[in-house]
């Protein structure tokens, strides 16, 4: 039985565009999926409280400051990811050519991020998990929703 309304302070610190300032990101995700068939549970909140700071640190290391929309998107991805890890679920492999669409450095960094979360849990995430997370950062960089600090204008080539 899932719990729709139980709330705890996630303390993820990823609320604002620069990593702080607005309400906890976890609660934004919880609100967004509250009416779905799988609303956020306290277990999800506990797991996100560990993963989201890792993601924020990862983004900072990549020189990305994620806008609100991208933060929410990454956090929703994180929610699905922590559930898969918890349930030992493994994504199907993705086509090899997809990996070529993401810079190698992003993939390497995403692998480190994924392992930082999974290894203490005795879980080894498949490469597909790494690619999907890396894609979030690649798209953010590509569309300008993940501006690098100091950028005056970012590439928006794929943005409609």
């Amino acid at each position: 039985m899932t719990r729709r309304t139980a709330r705890t302070t996630a303390g993820d610190g990823t609320g604002g565009p620069a990593g702080g300032g607005e309400g906890p990101l976890t609660e934004r995700v919880a609100e967004a999926v509250a009416d779905s068939s799988e609303p956020v549970t306290d277990t999800d909140r506990a797991d996100l409280a560990e993963l989201l700071p890792l993601i924020r640190r990862h983004a900072a290391q990549q020189g990305l400051v994620l806008d609100e929309e991208r933060q929410l998107a990454v956090a929703v991805h994180a929610l699905a990811f922590v559930r898969r890890v918890r349930h030992g679920e493994r994504l199907d492999p993705l086509a090899d050519e997809l990996y070529a669409e993401v810079p190698g450095a992003l993939l390497t960094a995403a692998r480190q991020l994924v392992d930082a979360y999974c290894t203490p849990r005795g879980h080894t995430a498949p490469d597909s998990e790494v690619l999907l997370l890396a894609l979030h950062f690649a798209v953010a960089r590509h569309t300008g929703s993940g501006a690098r600090p100091g950028d005056t204008e970012t590439t928006r080539g794929a943005q409609a």
Binding site: S37, A80, T143
Partner: protein, 139 residues
């Protein structure tokens, strides 16, 4: 002209795919609007708004980012993290207007979801060729 009353379904795929889903939507008698380019899943809500679409289908690895973004920006009723065509059909029957899937670029999914939507709207499907193939460049 049937085009004036075509039921539009917007499709956005994280990797810029989704053609098979669009084919299935068209086969069911709805009009697919396929958003081109990478990161298209994040534009589903925007293109639905621009096109006056009845349904949006978002595909990404976890099946949620585009749907949640559409809800946050436009208040859509969503279901996310789905992995099967049947889950999408159920979501449509429940009145969801944006569906979030993992990577499932299949004609079967597009056909099933579009058929369910048309049934729910009471418009029925006219089969192959009812919708014109377009891309959502206008968003």
């Amino acid at each position: 002209m049937s085009e004036a009353t075509a039921v539009k379904i917007v499709i956005g795929h994280r990797l810029g795919k989704g053609q098979s889903v669009a084919d299935g939507v068209r086969a069911a008698g709805a009009e697919p609007v396929l958003i081109p380019g990478p990161g298209a899943d994040m534009k589903v809500g925007d293109v639905m708004q621009a096109e006056g679409a009845a349904l949006g289908i978002s595909f990404c690895g976890s099946g949620g980012a585009g749907a949640v973004t559409a809800k946050a920006k436009y208040g859509h009723d969503i279901e996310f993290g789905m992995r099967s065509a049947q889950a999408g059909v159920t979501a449509v029957q429940q009145g969801r207007t944006v569906l979030g899937f993992g990577f499932l670029d299949s004609e079967e999914l597009g056909y099933a979801v579009a058929t369910a939507l048309l049934a729910k709207l009471g418009t029925g499907g006219s089969g192959d060729g009812a919708g014109s193939a377009r891309t959502g460049e206008s968003a």
